[in-house]
Symmetry: C2
Subunit: 444 residues, 2 copies
């Protein structure tokens, strides 16, 4: 008998299948990293570290949402709650008991209502509570996850459209939970790669518990001396995106001129900080004065501008780059891309990571200045982090020391509670988030 | 004293300066090639070979224009003409006499009237006759050329627009001759790289004689057992464009699916023939039934379609490429590019060589489907032959044997006489030419 998660998890599996296809090899868990791996039951520092990081970076991340008490929604059904520590302890005891028995518990889920056209609304998603058995079927290869942190990523909007075969992506299924990258804890596993108690990051459901029957895009977290939520961002898909997009796709050279749009976002903030140590001149665009200040004063960008206040993007770019742009890290598309094309230097590179300005349009805007790529012999290259998953361990080797030594700043925008997921997700398209948008489902 | 060519030659020099900047090294004249080089005064086979090539390929190139007698316009002033052989012999004798004395002769020129908007007209150019001294000044580094074949290339339309600093290109100067690639004979030289009697290809003026004061984009022709006109096409800039665009930019793999627009043109016809021996499936688009037949029946394309008869380009591409396109060799831009973007396979490459459909538009069409390059992780790369000039000798080593052995077909569309230049050039944008459009100024 196969244990089931109530509510469809088909979308998770489809994403997994897609990602599996495009990953060139199996994820190489590096032995040397495992040797450094703290014991699974070692003390977790994530909360202390998160606070430290907050204090180091910017007040905007010390938002009320971050201080929201652990939401009631997270408590497993039938658990007495008398304070956070007691609740967690009891939860753990009960979880173990229930896991061994395959007992059903409630499972709060964020359901995708129906295909979306135009700007997404909170009402395009709704919360429901199903049930889940906390044990994986004996004939399964799956893992049962307790989801901790969920990542709000712009690409998810693309999956809300009804479309087939767009590069292997499948749309979300109406009536099923959203899916996306997250950080989770393994409650039960029939997969030899994972065991109970493992912390993992990868594709999971927007729900309290997810059964992942084919966990190919689930990666064990081996370093827990940094905030766990970082694996939704700087240490997860967006971090790998920034790393691959800059070092691999952009072919950067010392001292080049780098422009980054959506520069204070999850990816952009990191690209700028990768470019600076190479002696690059780095300019970012963002959508508010606060974000521009953040880029210039906290994240070490040489220059930044608020695109909403520039009536002529071409002029803004010419002001910032009188000698032109060598590398454009593209996160927004549309008018910004058109303006950038006029300002590229010969043999410039455009790493096309995303086009968030276009995701809510039924008909994307036309880009008119593509002839520039001939005149300037420019390379535009679309890419996605999944192609670089096999390089993730190498990426961690590089970026973890930077984090530990405080050489890289990382800004998160955290909301507490699955119920706040829709607002947080939609906020991405309003420029509401400052830094990486994370939804906390549970802290342990 | 600097000897001058009447009429401005500033545009030639500007193009030369631009190209010089982007060439990474000096043109490496290969010694081993020089060893194979027939003596400069050896019999020329180009006319015989041209006829052979005509018979081999397609009747369309046996057009009346090709059979036009040597135009009167080519005769140097003051030369008696009594039949072609006698004329050439007398011309040579007189030229030598005049060259040594620096005598002035008439110089028919095709003048660029003024900046062009919209579709170019023949009246945007006009013929005039100036004078030229047939000797280079002693204090110059230049060469004096007698122009033989001129190349009609779509990029020239871009130089007819008034614009500054488009990737280093400078517009043509109103009142000065057009410039472009051509094949010429050196009448006099103060440059150590060239000597009287050398045959060269490179940037020259649309006129009978051109003084090139800084001949950095002039390359000695070392192999004359093929038609000289080929150095405006398969052995010159368009050939190098096809070679670099396919082998270098497109990163082809055995058996991939290749689509080529403007496939019967100077570049497209070669790309298809480069792709076939790699086991690629090759489809071309062109603008007439005759061209489609040529692609399928003469040039070895697997499939071809007339884009003017397809009301839905996306459907046409899906019909030809049910599994998608790995490589698109882009010559046209606009709607075709938009349709292709919907049909690219993951990790596809688009070598962006030209966008002829856009050159006559004041505002280029918008391209809407660029998000596909993210979904499919597609690379678009603009390129130009000048970046690959240093590889030209290697290119010749590869392509010359193919030509000699008849393994590659090459179709030219030749008109006789500088006066026919405007019509031939404008014909490029009407799809009038079948194969490489060449203008004969003189045959020797």
């Amino acid at each position: 008998m196969t244990l089931s998660v109530s509510g469809g998890h088909g979308a998770v599996e489809r994403i997994n299948r897609f990602l599996r296809r495009i990953i060139t090899g199996r994820y190489p868990h590096q032995q040397q990293q495992e040797n450094n791996h703290p014991k699974q039951n070692s003390k977790r520092f994530e909360q202390e570290n998160t606070k430290t990081q907050q204090q180091k970076t910017n007040k905007t991340i010390q938002a009320d949402d971050r201080r929201t008490p652990h939401p009631k929604s997270v408590k497993p059904r039938r658990l007495a709650v008398s304070g956070r520590c007691r609740k967690l302890r009891l939860s753990e005891e009960n979880r173990q008991r229930m896991a061994s028995s395959g007992e059903e518990v409630s499972n709060k889920q964020l359901i995708f209502r129906d295909y979306v056209t135009g700007f997404p609304q909170e009402s395009d998603m709704y919360v429901t509570t199903g049930t889940v058995k906390l044990k994986v079927s004996e004939d399964s290869n799956g893992v049962l996850l307790k989801n901790l942190y969920l990542s709000c990523d712009p690409y998810m909007r693309i999956l809300m459209k009804k479309q087939e075969g767009v590069g292997g992506f499948s749309s979300y299924t109406p009536g099923s939970p959203l899916t996306g990258f997250g950080v989770s804890k393994v409650l039960d596993s029939r997969n030899p790669e994972f065991k109970e108690g493992d912390l993992v990051w990868g594709i999971t459901g927007w729900e309290e518990y997810s059964l992942i029957t084919n966990p190919q895009v689930l990666f064990k977290i081996l370093h827990t001396d940094v905030p766990l939520s970082y694996y939704t961002g700087i240490l997860g898909m967006p971090g790998l995106t920034a790393y691959a997009g800059f070092y691999e796709v952009s072919s950067p050279k010392k001292g080049e001129n780098v422009f980054i749009s959506a520069a204070s976002g999850a990816v952009g903030q990191l690209v700028g900080q990768f470019a600076k140590p190479m002696g690059c001149y780095v300019v970012g665009s963002a959508g508010s004065k606060d974000k521009v200040d953040l880029l210039k004063n906290k994240l070490g960008f040489d220059e930044a501008f608020n695109y909403k206040e520039e009536h002529d993007l071409d002029a803004a770019l010419k002001r910032c780059f009188p000698e032109g742009i060598d590398i454009y890290f593209e996160n927004v598309g549309g008018k910004m891309l058109d303006a950038v094309l006029l300002n590229m230097r010969p043999h410039g590179r455009i790493a096309v990571c995303g086009m968030i300005s276009q995701y809510n349009l039924d008909q994307p805007e036309g880009v008119h200045n593509l002839m520039s790529i001939i005149y300037k012999r420019v390379r535009l290259e679309g890419f996605g982090a999944p192609d670089y998953f096999p390089q993730h361990p190498k990426f961690l080797d590089i970026v973890l020391p930077y984090i530990r030594e405080g050489k890289i700043k990382y800004i998160e925008d955290i909301v507490e509670g699955l119920e706040k997921g829709p607002g947080a997700f939609i906020g991405l398209f309003k420029g509401q988030n400052v830094g990486k948008q994370v939804v906390v489902v549970a802290r342990e």
